[in-house]
Amino acid sequence: MIKQRLTSQKAYITYFVIAVLLIGVVVFRYLDTFASVNFQYDSSMGSISLHSDGEKLHTPANNESVRLKKGSYIVKSSGKNIDTNTQEITVDGSKDTYDINFRYTDKYLASLYEDEQLSIYTAMLLEYPSILSDYTLHNDQLYGLGDWFGAALVYNDQEADNRDTLHILMKKSGDNWQVISTPPSPVLSAPDYPQVPYSILMAINQAK
């Protein structure tokens, strides 16, 4: 009788242990469908919001750790003069920090360019004295937060077909502009300018 009781007690303990293990596996698998991420951005300039399936989920503060279900999300930027561009991110546990870089709206950049034009041209002529007499600037504009400048340099005598259209890239440091593409080239290659945001290089290369 005692032996029977012991046997059934052993069975109950075994079933209990198996049940706990199974529940543990299920809970672990559920928790593994989430990942903690944090977003870094300049909160003095604007804010970001997280969206999924068209629904706004959260407005994370700078460096706030957020626990998200693994999957794709849209990050929308907003702020005064900040371009409301969207960026898609995939949360899969491989990355825990996302850097969000703001950029100004085209309209605001155009207004900034009016004030910067003289400084830009001065810096350009210092580097290449005959550049503005030989070439005309096309699609000249500021990029990013108004600290990048790019343009196409189209040779004035297009009929002769003996000069390539070049692309120039400049960067503002402090109050001064500096030519980065030395010399300006038909293509500004991303491998040659790893410090420059790819979207800026691509946009300048498409200028004609």
Binding site: Y128, I131, D134, Y155, D161, N162, R163, D164, T165, L166, P183, P184, S185, P186, V187, L188, S189, A190, P191, D192, Y198, L201, M202, N205
Partner: protein, 225 residues
């Protein structure tokens, strides 16, 4: 009276024999585990490189150290100097770039110089052929890896009467496009052609051959000529 029947002794010392067998097995297992762990540690951070040489008993020296001449060896990423030698055969010295992205392998066959070596070579052509097959297989693996890293190479070169688009292999890892055009207009057409193929020129380092950048300093333009 002494009993020389072995079963008597097996029975008498049964426990001792059992313990000895167990101890022996434990020693073997421990030895295998230690060997496995030390091999594993030695291989950490290194790249597995298959090696095969003909003649099979040639001496292989890599960066001044003798290495195995068959099977797999483990080398750190980087450039290595390989020297394979055998009496009577012409010594071969080569540099190899060993990285995990370029499917490295060391397959070297030596050419006989002495009469004996030449005779051996004639009698063992199958070994040379086998090594050739391995070399071809390795070349295919290399091409696969290279093309997966640089998918554009499958669409190059592009040859037009007025422009060509080709590429240079940069240290097995990446490429530099080379664009030639009869005039600035056709160099621009080449770039547009790239875009129409679905590639953005921004992604590639590009050398425009026969292009003299007028904004390059005069001394640099003289140098590049």
């Amino acid at each position: 009276m002494l009993n020389y029947d072995i079963s008597y002794y097996l029975n008498k010392y049964k426990k001792q024999i059992q313990w000895s067998v167990v101890a022996f097995l434990v020693v073997i297992i421990v030895f295998m585990i230690v060997n496995f762990i030390s091999s594993y540690i030695a291989q950490q951070g290194k790249i597995t490189v298959p090696i095969s040489v003909v003649p099979g008993d040639s001496t292989v020296i890599i960066d001044g150290e003798e290495q195995s001449n068959s099977g797999d060896i483990y080398l750190e990423a980087g450039e290595h100097k390989v020297k394979v030698s055998h009496p009577g055969f012409r010594t071969v010295e080569r540099s190899y770039r060993i990285y995990d992205y370029n499917a490295p392998a060391i397959y070297i066959s030596l050419i006989g110089e002495s009469d004996e070596a030449k005779e051996w070579q004639q009698n063992n052509l199958s070994k040379y052929r086998k090594l050739e097959i391995l070399t071809t297989q390795q070349a295919h693996k290399y091409t696969e890896k290279f093309e997966s890293r640089n998918p554009i190479v499958e669409d190059l070169p592009v040859k037009d009467p007025y422009f060509t688009i080709s590429y240079k292999n940069i240290q097995d890892k990446t490429i530099q496009l080379t664009i030639w055009g009869t005039s600035p207009r056709y160099r621009e057409f080449a770039l547009e052609h790239l875009r129409s193929m679905g590639y953005d020129p921004t992604d590639y380092s590009i050398e425009f051959t026969d292009f003299d950048n007028p904004l390059k300093p005069a001394e640099d333009r003289e140098e590049s000529k």
